[in-house]
Amino acid sequence: MKNNLRYLNALLTSNSKELKELYSENFPKVKSFVLQNKGQVADAEDIFQKALVQIAVRYRREKFEITSSFEAYLFTACKNLWRRELNKSKRWVTTDSDLERGGEEHDEALALLEQKRWELFGKNLELISENCQKVLKLFFAKVSYEHIVEQLNYSSETVARQRVFKCKAKLTELIKNDQNYHSLTQL
């Protein structure tokens, strides 16, 4: 965690010497992730810059805590921005004209809030038992009950369904009791 404050400060003060170091230490990993997932180098560069700006803007507003190393957090932020790009075509409500009207910064603000919501869900998922996490991850990944039974050695599909139901209820309860729930899930 030694670099956390150092890099956050570099972002707040736009310190180019420190940012060069941050770039050479972290960009290669992001680049290979994007290249391995249907992207080009230019996409990786774009994502990397956006993630850094996102962290800076968010930190300026709320001084949020990064519980992992800065490097790990940055990599996750980049991965999420890339997931977001890949899923943009599936987007429901927003139309192109909305994006045009809002401009790039509007879209960046949405991405930031979506990242916060993702963290809220992820943080609470980690609070439930390991077994519950396993079954829910398969469930959300749309794995059929038949295969859930097989993979987790349940005795029947009914047992698997009950397990999913209970685990999801527990997770929902935790999320709804989280102090940030209202501001983030009404979005």
Binding site: L11, S14, S16, L19, K20, Y23, F27, K31, L35, Q36, N37, K38, E45, Q49, L52, V53, A56, V57, R60, R61, N80, R83, R84, L86, N87, K90, R91, W92, V93, T94, D98, G102, E105, H106, E108, A109, L110, L112, L113, E114, R117, W118, F121, G122, L125, L136, K137, F140, A141, K142, H147, E150, K168, L171, T172, I175, S183, T185, Q186, L187
Partner: protein
């Protein structure tokens, strides 16, 4: 929320509703406020916690969005963007060679030797890095067929392969190739890649060649993975030859092959 509603939402999100049911579902979401609220929460859960998905914001005109939007536009952020752009441009510049005549004269022989060793090493790293960047197992077709009960074995193989557990996947793939008439090209690819990742280079070469020489529709895919194999073996010349063949004949991944050729030059 009552149980049937919960189940209905779950079925919608897990994509098991028929077209007609889907239509009815969406109609209800529009008109039934309480149902919509529950649905949106479940949707957020599903999309956030599925690694291949992403949960987008539905209501965009809230104060919070406006506040952040303004922060992304302000001068401090503009300054940061500018600096980041400069840093990136600088990082992309090729490293300049230092021309210090006296140093050249002083130990020409020693430098020549160390440079050749160094270039061998960097070459190896570069080739390995390119291999890692270009090998994308997610672009391979799936081995399992929806609705087919006889393919449990295939599902297991695919799962092992996707988890990169090549050691355990390989014997199952060999077995499958001995008995299966279906999906043979894909099976060859899975097998060759497993061998390549396990550093069984000769075996991998044989597998890809068998595929290339077969009558299977997907036979040309073998060329692409053979090019990657040579790259991993650090045999740049052979890799380039295969890539040129892919590019000239517009075989599978010919655009990528062109790009990789450029990277190798």
């Amino acid at each position: 929320m009552n149980n049937p509603d919960q189940q209905l939402i779950e079925h919608f999100l897990r994509e098991v509703l028929s077209e007609k049911e889907k239509k009815e579902f969406l109609e209800r979401v529009k008109t039934d406020h309480e149902f919509r609220k529950k649905f949106l929460f479940e949707k957020q859960l599903f999309e956030s916690l599925n690694e291949n998905d992403w949960s987008f914001i539905e209501h965009e005109n809230l104060d919070e969005v406006q506040t952040y939007s303004a922060l992304f536009k302000n001068d401090k952020t503009k300054e940061l963007r500018q600096v980041l752009k400069e840093v990136q441009v600088e990082q992309n510049k090729p490293v300049k060679k230092k021309s210090r005549q006296w140093l050249l004269y002083a130990s020409a022989a020693a430098i020549a030797i160390s440079l050749s060793v160094l270039s061998l090493l960097t070459n190896k790293t570069n080739n390995n890095e390119l291999y890692a960047n270009y090998l994308d197992i997610s672009e391979l077709p799936s081995l399992s067929v929806r609705g087919d009960n006889s393919n449990e074995q295939m599902i297991t193989v695919e799962q092992l392969f996707k988890k990169k557990d090549y050691k355990n996947a390989l014997p199952l793939l060999e077995k499958a190739l001995n008995i299966s008439e279906r999906n043979r090209a894909t099976l060859f690819l899975y097998k060759g890649i497993s061998e390549m990742e396990l550093k069984k280079y000769q075996a991998a070469e044989t597998t890809f060649n068998t595929l290339i020489n077969s009558e299977l529709m997907d036979a040309p895919k073998g060329y692409w993975y053979k090019a990657l194999l040579y790259l991993k073996m650090n045999n740049k010349q052979k890799s380039i030859e295969v890539l040129k063949e892919i590019s000239t004949n517009a075989f599978y991944n010919h655009q990528k092959a062109k790009k990789l050729l450029k990277d190798l030059e």
